[in-house]
């Protein structure tokens, strides 16, 4: 019941975002059978996300539309700090093994190999989507790009789960 209320509220609040969405192809797995409460458009550049802070209600299903306005490939991964650090470590190890070139082989657009973490990669100049439902049991998660060096150079932000 609480969720229904929230959906109603956010539908009102995000009319513009919804209006802009849905025309492009939707690559997310969950899209077909999950009702999307709201669409959040934001930007990934070299080396930043904007906005850097998001607030999402527990249980809310959000479609992220991330446009890569930079010249390099980026990813958008959601997880807690430890998960992000572990993923980052893995990405770095893979990079050092293969001549440090992450961008082409490993990612190649579409779904990101970030284990159980919700993730998507975004080639430069393109827009990618990710549908995600905020959990009830945590208050804050981090979003990040874990391509080696990108997180350290500034590509991270926080999602406050509240409401």
């Amino acid at each position: 019941m609480r969720n229904t209320l929230l959906v109603a509220m956010f539908s009102l609040a995000s009319t513009t975002a919804l209006a802009g969405a849905g025309h492009g192809s939707d690559g997310s797995r969950a899209a077909d059978h999950t009702a999307i409460d709201r669409t959040l458009s934001f930007e990934a550049g070299d080396m930043w996300f904007t906005p850097g802070k998001l607030a999402i209600a527990p249980g809310e299903t959000v479609k992220f539309e991330i446009t890569n306005s930079g010249t390099l490939e980026h990813e958008f991964v959601i997880g807690d700090n430890d998960e992000q650090a572990a993923h980052r470590e893995m990405m770095r190890d893979m990079a050092s093994g293969g001549g440090h070139d992450m961008s082409a082989d490993h990612h190649g657009g579409g779904h990101d190999d970030a284990g159980n973490m919700p993730a998507v990669t975004i080639p430069p100049g393109e827009t990618a989507t990710l549908v995600w439902t905020a959990p009830h049991d945590v208050e804050e998660v981090e979003f990040a790009c874990n391509i080696p060096g990108h997180y350290e150079a500034g590509m991270s932000g926080d999602i406050q789960i509240e409401g």
Binding site: D46, M47, W48, G70, T71, L72, R92, S96, G99, H100, P148, G149, H150, E152, A153, G154
Partner: protein
């Protein structure tokens, strides 16, 4: 000179320093250190002491004040040595007035800046120099941003501290974020007169390498320093198993390595708040010393090289050649101190400071590594240079080569090496070298190697018909994926040149119209350093670049030492295998035996200096003028 000799031992000097600190001499030195080295960095509370552009006046003096807590006579700039931070902004028209209060001519070169040739500050090339008592006004448009430095280009003045950091703030947001910044200017200070150092090197290269010293030297030292000091000093060098003769020609036996003008015991401190991202602008402003920089406990993310942004690379250590700059980000989370550690490449000493949440804290100084065996490395490099161009030679048994008598190699005369008969290498399996012209093997020397048809080799690799490698491809014989001598890449993640990638291609994407090959040459025994075997005093004219041509400069290091090669006035785009995203640099480290290349757009009309940035190598003749017309 007698005074200088008394202070030549690092051990006794450090003992003196400890005493000095106790007497408050450390604080005295602190007062005289540049204000930009303020603990809270630049963006926060202490902008004073920075000479903020676009209008800056700098006065050059010779002054008596302590360096590393000991009396000295450095060259000061506006009262500090090293000089103040000159801070400009991209888009400004800078007006820099330099007044010479020395008794000899001086100059300032703005290292890494693209500017009109008459503003470049090289006496005899750009202008006449600045006579005693005179003021020269440099005027140039600032059309770039990043971390650079400035220094005297007159004689050996740079060795006396005539240098300082130069930062250009970006007009547009940079491709990384940080909360606070600190400058780390690394220098090598000597209490000996620079002319004495040069004289000593001329008498015998190896003068500053105790390994080479004899029993007679020992008794001479005893006479000068007394038995205890001499014995302790020898024991120290013996403990370190020093054989640095071929790693660096001027070492910690005369140098005190400084971070922002302060010795390790003075412990320059940069302050941070836990969780903040710090941008460290690391500048190697030393005369002769390569450093290996690390901060135990922290990962450094390299975001710029030679002032130019690169795709970020997380590393635990990086080697910085003389005159290079690297910008790194660190985010210390813990409320604890970290050591900023810059170990000299020859392991004869280090510069250090502390990154701490408050003043007065220290962290452990890492154990210094042992010196590597140069002979082994240089030989490997040599073999690599000769043969990597011939991809068919993979069957060669390298392990057999390592069975050679390496012990004898460090002392080997390089010129003799060029005549080396490869056929005599024990254990080398010639039969597997399929692509090689065996007819040329017997008695093969390097001169005939260089005369080989490299174009043919390139064709095989690239399919091109004009005999040149494609743009951005690393030269056969480059070692851009190796961190260099004395570093174990398995120990921690170390930056290599191959890691450097631009964020986007540089504007000129033309392939090179021609190739220009230059050999870095030297005779160590006579301390002669040159390009293509000719000292600057022996060449008849400049190297010509045609205005607006795009060319490939190929550097081949025929010596057994690293050389940081600096081109004034134009960028060098280092062909490190990154294709369109090759990085651009003002100074290229060329390893012993290495062959590497850079693309150059010759758009800067005029005469420019081109030289090895090891001060005494440049002075000895490893210098040319490039004329763009």
């Amino acid at each position: 000179m007698i005074k200088a000799n008394q202070t030549a031992s690092p051990l006794t000097r450090r003992q003196v320093l400890k005493g000095g600190s106790a007497l408050g001499l450390g604080a005295m030195a602190l007062r005289l250190s540049p204000a930009w080295a303020a603990p809270w960095g630049q963006t926060a509370a202490y902008p004073q002491g920075t000479e903020q552009g676009p209008n800056v006046s700098l006065a050059i003096r010779r002054e008596s004040f302590p360096v590393a807590g000991q009396s000295a006579r450095p060259i000061s700039i506006n009262g500090t040595s090293p000089g103040p931070l000159v801070r400009l902004r991209e888009g400004q028209d800078a007006v820099l007035r330099v007044t010479n209060l020395l008794e000899e001519p001086t100059s300032i070169h703005w290292h890494g800046l693209i500017l009109p040739p008459e503003m470049d500050g090289v006496p005899g090339v750009s202008f006449a120099g600045i006579a005693p008592g005179e003021t020269f006004t440099y005027r140039f448009p600032v059309r770039q941003n990043g971390t650079y430095w400035y220094h005297s280009h007159s004689g050996l003045q740079e060795q006396l501290g005539h240098a300082g950091p130069l930062i250009i703030d970006a007009a547009e947001p940079e491709p990384f974020r940080y909360d606070r910044e600190h400058v780390l200017l690394l220098t090598d200070w000597s209490f000996e007169d620079p002319a004495t150092i040069f004289h000593n090197l001329k008498i015998g290269e190896g003068y500053y390498n105790f390994q080479e010293r004899t029993v007679a030297d020992f008794f001479a030292d005893v006479e000068r320093h007394g038995f205890a000091d001499t014995a302790a000093q020898r024991a120290m060098w013996a403990d370190m198993r020093m054989s640095s003769r071929d790693i660096a020609d001027v070492t910690g036996s005369t140098y005190t390595y400084l971070m922002n003008g302060q010795s390790p015991s003075q412990n320059w401190t940069a302050l941070f708040k836990p969780g903040e991202t710090q941008r460290l602008r690391v500048i190697n402003g030393s005369a002769m010393t390569y450093f290996d920089v690390r901060i135990p406990g922290l990962t450094m993310t390299v975001v710029a090289a030679d002032g130019q942004p690169i795709q970020p690379v997380p590393v635990e250590e990086f080697r910085i050649g003389v005159a290079e700059t690297y910008d790194v980000l660190v985010t210390p989370e813990a409320n604890t101190a970290y050591t900023l550690f810059a170990e000299s490449m020859d392991r004869s000493g280090y510069a250090s400071g502390t990154l701490a949440p408050r003043l007065g804290m220290t962290a452990p100084i890492p154990v210094r590594r042992q010196i590597a065996d140069r002979g082994m490395e240089a030989m490997g490099a040599h073999a690599g240079m000769d043969m990597s161009g011939m991809s068919d030679m993979q069957g060669m048994d390298h392990s057999a080569m390592q069975g050679m008598d390496n012990a004898k190699m460090p002392g080997m005369d390089h010129s003799a090496m060029q005549g080396m008969d490869h056929a005599k290498m024990p254990g080398m399996d010639h039969s597997t070298m399929q692509g090689m012209d065996h007819a040329k093997m017997p008695g093969m020397d390097h001169s005939s190697m260089q005369g080989m048809d490299r174009g043919h080799m390139a064709d095989a690799a690239s399919g091109r018909t004009d005999g040149m490698l494609p743009v951005g491809v690393a030269q056969p014989g480059s070692r851009l994926d190796q961190p260099g001598i004395g570093i174990d890449p398995g120990e921690r993640r170390v930056l290599v040149y191959r890691d450097l990638k631009a964020l986007r291609p540089w504007p000129d994407r033309r392939p090179p119209g021609r190739e220009l090959e230059l050999h870095l040459t030297g005779n160590m025994e006579r301390y002669m350093w040159s390009f293509d075997g000719k000292k600057f005093s022996e060449v008849t004219g400049p190297i010509h670049f045609e205005k607006d041509e795009r060319l490939r400069l190929i550097l081949v290091n025929d010596t057994m030492m690293e050389h940081p090669i600096h081109l004034h006035g134009m960028w060098m785009e280092l062909e490190n295998g990154a294709g369109e995203l090759i990085p651009r640099k003002h100074t290229l480290n060329v390893k012993p035996g290495e062959r590497l290349s850079a693309l150059i757009t010759a758009d800067a009309e005029g005469s420019w200096a081109f030289h090895c940035h090891l001060l005494y190598h440049m002075d000895a003749g490893m210098f040319r003028v490039v004329k763009v017309a």
